[in-house]
């Protein structure tokens, strides 16, 4: 099987089928729902698991040299967010909405990340196991960039009283202490400190049942996506089009940079997943809080209804294929 063939077999993976089941359930108005608290618990589990496994793997090789990758993640976050902000401003969105959309695009999607990990394991591709732990770096960089860009645009509008709400250090604190940052990063550190031996007894929970739990998560995302699809009808064609054009561009930027700093095609694919995925957990919360005037449904509908399905069904296999080609080219 060529890498492309392997790639497209992805479409029938159980995780994606569960996602589709969720979308169908909403569209046939089923009473199927996954309680809030279960969704939260699964998110928590997945984020810890990703961080922990990253940390354990790095504990084998040491942290030296990781700083360059963290830096690359930050740069990618800043570049992508700025790119999106400029484009959105160009096509007529005001500063609030452009900032909000840029934040969603720039920040990362844990489900896209997990889908990618599952995909790479499925096809037996190697990757550097610390790459998932770069999530918080790119995520935070993107959110802060979006906020700064949006503010700069809003400068004239913001009144005296609102000032306190817009303090950059508050935003930095919110991003760095956000649930997803804390869990991935905390898990990473715990994995790093405890090492293979110390975490062995945790792996039946955090590793063996992971892919099964992930299918429930995908079902939940499917339900959420289904319930947001109707909002897509309000999306302008240009916005819609961009949601399909931009992710591959972001992925390409990430892959080139990743390959350049020495990541394997697998590792580059993970960075591409972080870059191309749009956030629907951190970003909606942070952006809503920062730009209350922006339409919160718009960015979320794009992230969930277009970018996410595009990425998990077509995008990831494509990015992997691309990563192989680029790595061969650069070599």
């Amino acid at each position: 099987m060529s890498s492309l063939e392997i790639a497209f077999s992805n479409m029938a993976s159980p995780a994606i089928l569960f996602f589709i089941l969720g979308v169908i359930a909403v569209s046939v108005k089923s009473d199927l729902e996954i309680p809030d608290s279960i969704g939260s618990a699964i998110t928590l589990y997945i984020l810890i698991s990703i961080g922990l496994k990253g940390g354990v793997s790095v504990s084998k090789t040491g942290v030296q040299g990781l700083i360059i990758y963290a830096l690359a993640a930050v740069i990618i976050g800043i570049v992508i967010t700025t790119l999106v902000y400029v484009i959105m401003s160009k096509i007529g969105f005001d500063s609030s909405n452009a900032g909000s959309i840029a934040g969603h695009y720039g920040a990362c999607s844990s489900v896209t990340l997990t889908s990618t990990l599952v995909f790479l394991q499925q096809i037996g591709a190697n990757f550097e196991e610390f790459v998932p732990a770069l999530y918080p770096f790119m995520d935070t960089a993107a959110l802060i960039t979006a906020i700064i860009l949006g503010y700069t645009g809003l400068k004239k509008k913001s009144t005296e009283t609102d000032k306190s709400d817009y303090a950059i250090k508050d935003i930095l604190r919110i991003s760095l202490t956000a649930k997803s940052t804390l869990l991935i990063f905390g898990g990473f550190l715990i994995g790093l400190i405890s090492g293979v031996e110390g975490t062995k007894s945790l792996m039946p929970f955090y590793d063996n049942i992971f892919k099964g739990v992930f299918t429930v998560f995908m079902l939940d995302i499917g339900l959420l996506t289904g319930s947001r699809l109707y909002e897509l009808k309000n999306v302008r064609p240009i916005t819609f089009l961009l949601a399909i054009i931009l992710p591959p561009i972001h992925a390409t930027i990430a892959i080139i940079l990743a390959t350049f700093i020495g990541l394997s095609p697998g590792g580059a694919t993970i960075l591409a997943a972080l870059a191309s995925g749009a956030s629907y957990i951190t970003a909606p919360a942070v952006m809503r809080d920062t730009f209350p005037d922006a339409n919160p449904s718009l960015a979320l509908a794009i992230a969930l209804g277009i970018i996410f399905p595009f990425n998990i069904i077509l995008g990831i296999p494509l990015y992997y294929h691309l990563a192989i080609m680029i790595s061969q080219f650069i070599k």
């Binding site: 729902e33 809030d36 939260s40 939940d220 995302i221 959420l224 919360a285 809080d289 005037d293 979320l300």
Partner: protein
């Protein structure tokens, strides 16, 4: 002993709960009740409990019993102007109640 007082009710986005509570406490209000698991629909669209992925989109209800009517109205208007007039989704209203002392 019954005493007529005002009950101030705020229904708004869950995402700003800590901001609002901080603001309320800065107005020297020391007692309130919060109802969770509230959803709704208004001018700013459907605000539903979002399936666990984020609490974004959910509402809360805050209830504050204030003895002095004038103060109650003042607090209500302050909260309305600061958070709800043009920014976050929500509604603020007052009810007369008789509290047992």
């Amino acid at each position: 002993m019954l005493k007529q007082v005002e009950k101030l009710i705020i229904i708004t986005e869950r995402i700003i709960i800590s901001k609002i509570i901080e603001y309320i406490e800065s107005l020297e209000i020391k007692a309130y009740t919060i109802y969770h698991d509230v959803s709704g629909q208004g001018q700013r669209g459907m605000r539903s409990i979002s399936g666990g992925l984020s609490r974004f989109g959910e509402n809360i209800r805050i209830e504050i019993i204030i003895e002095d009517e004038e103060q109650a109205v003042e607090v209500a208007e302050k909260i309305y102007n600061k958070y709800l007039s043009s920014r976050y989704a929500g509604i603020v209203y007052l009810e007369k109640i008789r509290v047992v002392k």
